[in-house]
């Protein structure tokens, strides 16, 4: 439809410089420049390295996205950008670029929430999100269960991790096993050759008195390290594939169990899974199985749209335009701890 809004989205909350172009629910371009290789030897994202890379890549990535979408900047209806949460210095590069484009083109600016964008991106793949949607967001920076009655204005956090994010646990276990950074893809690959039932690792916060929707992965990570070290100290071989598979099984078991329980408790029949860890093949398979058994419809975007990208920001920006939400002002701040309840940062009146 020609009257659907054409929106450019900019994402720089962590180590990916992402720029997407969408028309309504249709993805036209998704350009990403990643600095992940520059961080590998440090075993984690170094904020200053990420910010420098964003500055280098920002404008070229915008130009590439526009060229790939085959649209002129002047055709855009709005510019959307991740206003938070994320790394402060990294966010600021994207926010500044978005303001400059919006101002130079005379288009409205939408500073949107990174987590809400992770949910909204699925509209590009599977069409309009049902309302409400239950969303499980899992990545290196966040692990949350969110109830979303309206993706543009009403997101309610049900639970979150009380210590490590799920993706962080993958990175740390990968280090214990001597795999590289980032740990997620390495463990996913190795786990395919292992026995997921070989070792029974603990499932954090799953007792009857524990918070039903909160997560904890710190104990699991320590348990894996202890198990591996005990073996090593005894001079035994470590069955790395079995450890990887058993660890991954524990994480995905807890994530899917809690997400399905939240759907049941809230009477929601759709579960959406997003964030970098949603690219994990075991999580996708287990969620499919369990959702089917529970009579729930599962929505997971393809892996490329689960990790941080600009298309997800553009998708949420387009939804903001469609629903007539108020744009942001030119003094829009980058807010590293923007709460998920603030789906976007509208101008003060």
């Amino acid at each position: 439809m020609a009257d659907e809004p054409l929106v450019l989205g900019i994402e720089t909350s962590c180590d990916e410089t992402g720029v997407g172009v969408v028309r309504g629910h249709t993805l036209l371009a998704d350009a990403v420049a990643s600095s992940v290789d520059d961080h590998a030897r440090f075993g984690g994202v170094v904020p200053e390295i990420a910010s420098r890379a964003h500055l280098e890549a920002m404008v070229p990535t915008i130009e590439r996205a526009l060229a790939h979408a085959g649209v002129a900047a002047t055709d855009l209806d709005a510019i959307a950008v991740t206003a938070g949460p994320g790394l402060a210095g990294a966010l600021l590069v994207g926010v500044s670029a978005a303001k400059a484009y919006a101002y130079a083109l005379g288009k409205p600016l939408y500073g949107v929430n990174h987590l809400a964008s992770h949910i909204c991106v699925d509209q590009l793949e599977h069409g309009p999100l049902p309302e409400p949607t239950m969303a499980l967001l899992v990545s290196g920076g966040h692990s949350s269960l969110l109830l979303a009655p309206d993706i543009t204005s009403d997101i309610r956090p049900l639970g979150a991790t009380i210590d490590d994010a799920a993706g962080e646990a993958f990175d740390k276990v990968a280090r214990v096993l001597g795999l590289g950074f980032p740990g997620g893809p390495a463990i996913d690959r190795l786990a395919r050759e292992g026995d997921a039932g070989a070792i029974r690792f603990p499932r954090g916060l799953t007792g009857p008195r524990d918070a039903p929707y909160d997560f904890s992965f710190s104990g699991l990570k320590t348990a894996v390290a202890r198990w591996v070290e005990t073996r090593r100290n005894a001079g035994d071989d470590v069955p790395v594939a079995d450890v990887a598979a058993s660890f991954q099984e524990a994480v995905t078991d807890v994530l899917t169990r809690k997400a399905i329980r939240a759907c049941r408790d809230e009477g929601v029949d759709h579960l959406m899974i997003g964030g970098g860890v949603a690219a994990n093949s075991r999580l996708r398979a287990m969620a499919e199985e369990r959702c089917a058994a529970a009579g729930l419809t599962l929505r997971v975007p393809r892996p490329g749209l689960c990790t941080d990208n600009g298309a997800m920001v553009a998708a949420l920006g387009a939804e903001m335009v469609t629903r007539g939400r108020a744009p942001s002002a030119l003094d829009l701040p980058a807010d590293s701890s923007l709460p998920v309840t603030r789906t976007h940062v509208a101008a003060a009146h």
């Binding site: 170094v46 200053e48 404008v59 210095g89 670029a97 101002y103 070290e229 003094d331």
Partner: protein, 223 residues
């Protein structure tokens, strides 16, 4: 030539619209705010204000001029990415000018002097000049005590020199403490009119990013 100049490499968030013709140039409007924590929030509203104060539109601007530092990185990047994005969105060329060079130009001095800005962590960004237009050393980042021998007694401008008067013994309160985009625009206009090419908008960080390679694997169990 109508230049929109801006600099956020230091606590100053400074924007100016500078017009230059055959017989010299002048600032049509300018905005100077000192706030080390809100570069990102202040810059675009200041650009908008300067253009509307001057009664000009971005479409009339023939060149963007941006301070390339050195300066604390987070603020420095705000100006650079803003200038680059404005330039790309409206196909306006973007020129870089060293922030210390603009500060030096604003002194109008015709004798040797130094310029220093605060680099935090008890260091300064500094450069030495033969006159307001001619840099002879730097820019560099150092502890004031380490360069005292090179800068003592010379007239000194900039907030960095004022912070460390024991090293910058010739510091002068009548010289500017902060960079102004008017000077940035005037210096760029002078160079461009003379046919001198200006560098692109590349950041001068002068320091490597803070990042440590993790020291091996730390066991969780005690053995």
């Amino acid at each position: 030539m109508l230049l929109l100049a801006l600099d956020t490499a230091t606590p100053a968030v400074t924007v100016a619209l500078y017009e230059a013709g055959r017989d010299g140039g002048a600032a049509l409007a300018a905005s100077d705010e000192i706030d080390a924590r809100r570069h990102g929030e202040l810059l675009l509203p200041a650009v908008d204000r300067v253009l509307s104060d001057a009664g000009r539109g971005l479409g009339e601007v023939t060149g963007l001029v941006v301070g390339t530092g050195p300066g604390p990185y987070t603020g420095l990047r705000v100006g650079l990415v803003t200038a680059e994005a404005l330039g790309a969105a409206r196909s306006i060329p973007v020129h870089g000018v060293g922030t210390l060079d603009a500060l030096a130009y604003a002194t109008g001095l015709d004798e040797p002097f130094v310029v220093a800005t605060d680099a935090r962590r008890k260091e300064v960004y500094w450069a030495r000049y033969a006159d307001a237009r001619t840099r002879v050393a730097g820019p560099a980042v150092d502890r004031p005590a380490e360069i005292a021998g090179e800068v003592a007694g010379l007239p000194a401008a900039g907030a960095g020199a004022r912070l460390y008067p024991e090293a910058f013994t010739g510091v002068r309160e009548d010289l500017p403490a902060h960079v102004s985009a008017v000077a940035l625009g005037a210096l760029a206009a002078e160079r461009l009119s003379a046919g001198e090419p200006l560098p692109g908008a590349r950041p001068q960080y002068l320091r490597r990013p803070d990042a440590r390679v993790p020291t091996g694997y730390k066991a969780v169990t005690r053995t």
